[in-house]
Symmetry: C2
Subunit: 294 residues, 2 copies
């Protein structure tokens, strides 16, 4: 699955190609940073539409103004479905956005964040305060700057929740999109635990969804795909909640809302009980793509 | 609400600006048509991503490959919620896509389509067969080439369903986005009738949503907003189902699926019972935007 490599359409017009023939753009009003880390090309820009915007290898990662679409939905579908999450592991996610969502839970005692690239954490501390909102300094968070694949293989710990908050499969994350890695993650989950991750756009890259679902199903008994609109990623995106035992679709909107309140979760701009259920309702062409017969 | 006027970024790179600083593009592989009708600039292109693609005044209208996101959701949320629709009025919609969805109902006896611009109907007959699928020649369809505003004001007919399938408020459709016109439409609905329409993107143009909801609420007792991802419109789009008596949110997924089957509706690529309910689940920031307290 090679990534499209394309230059910006004009200087300052940050451009993301969805396919060779389609894409979208965001105007940069100021470039804060542009450098090469040991792993990837790092950029930080100011923009009117998205506020501070962060790119890796020329791909949009996150922004101040729209990070909640991605981080809230990546974390809460699984975390609210879990009966009482106390420990969590994040692979990737050096911007701190997923950590912030997990640390909203009064039940969460510890979160381990494994980010391969220290530059991402440094950039987040300096520029992305509105993404992590102090989570990177929370005493319940342990940051480990190392390879997520090696960490998961060597670990003997188990967790209630695992969040794969990775770049797309083209860059350093490529080996973290297959069944072997997913099985290693499954071994690090407690019996009622669940993992969540993002896959791809079912509109621009249905072949990535098909492949990703097959790899996940080789490692997990329960694979529940769900859909989230993410402006900075160019539209509809597929995520999945996977587990040996936990199925988030069993939770009613009412019960999801009750848990949001009981667990002390605040400042949700997107996620609520209605959304929890609705996000798993799939259009017919996506049911067919993921081979779910309703 | 002035429309953004911007040129394509490069020749052949069809460009839609969402705001002054953001937008998206689709590469044209061939230009089939480009001319000025008495009402608007008309273009038809071939594209790899969307198949045949239709623009008016430089704005994407519809395409072969993604028309179902828009037309199915614009029509079926209201039409399935209606107990037994037999007559329908479409204002705009000269491409025939909405007519095709309405004519799928075995209960529908007549559809009146009022399109101001004959060029749109001609272009649809010539290039957009995969959008209207023969609906423009269905004996149950009456096409009237006239001003929708004048038609609704002068009409004494009433309908079970009205579909406003209009261009955005910048062009010739501008007067069709206010409470006076909505009240005239309300007077043309049967007692259990409903009207559906699209509003704007709540991400790029929240101010249009706020204004549109206020105009609708001045004319209809029940205003139910819902969300649809539309690739050709650049992401998440808001539609609404409005009525004096009919609330589509009361329908369960099971009952919606039962009606789809009973009414003989086929070839749905997007809409199903789960989607019917899910589309009305609003993220917190959109609840706030439309002033719905859950």
């Amino acid at each position: 699955m090679p990534e499209e490599k394309h230059a910006d359409l004009q200087p300052g017009l940050l451009t993301e190609y969805l396919t060779d023939d389609t894409g979208f753009f965001v105007r940069s009003t100021r470039e804060f940073e542009r450098f090469q880390s040991p792993f990837q090309a790092v950029e930080v820009h100011d923009t009117a539409a998205f506020g501070t915007l962060f790119r890796l290898d020329g791909h949009f990662m996150t922004s101040e103004k729209d990070e909640f679409y991605y981080h809230e939905n990546l974390v809460h579908v699984a975390a609210i479905a879990h009966p009482a999450p106390t420990t969590a592991l994040i692979i990737g996610g050096g911007d701190g956005g997923s950590a912030e969502e997990l640390l909203k839970y009064s039940t969460i005692r510890s979160v381990t964040l494994v980010e391969i690239d220290l530059a991402v954490v440094d950039i987040a501390r300096k520029y992305l305060g509105k993404v992590h909102r102090g989570a990177l300094s929370d005493p319940r968070l342990a940051i480990r700057v190392e390879d997520g694949l090696a960490f998961v293989r060597a670990s003997t710990e188990t967790y209630d929740l695992i969040v794969l908050d990775l770049t797309d499969p083209g860059g350093p994350s490529a080996p973290l999109y297959d069944a072997d890695f997913y099985r290693a993650c499954a071994a690090r989950l407690n019996p009622s635990g669940a993992m969540s991750l993002h896959l791809a756009s079912p509109v621009s890259h249905p072949e990535r969804i098909r492949a990703g679902m097959a790899e996940l199903r080789a490692a997990f008994a329960i694979v529940v795909p769900y859909l989230v609109p993410i402006p900075l990623y160019g539209g509809l995106w597929m995520m999945a909640c996977v587990s040996a035992t936990l199925n988030p679709s069993y939770l009613t909107p009412l019960e999801a809302d009750r848990r949001i309140s009981q667990r002390g979760i605040r400042d949700l701009q997107y996620y609520n009980g209605d959304v929890h259920r609705a996000t798993m309702a799939l259009p017919n062409f996506i049911r067919e793509l993921v081979q779910i017969v309703a």
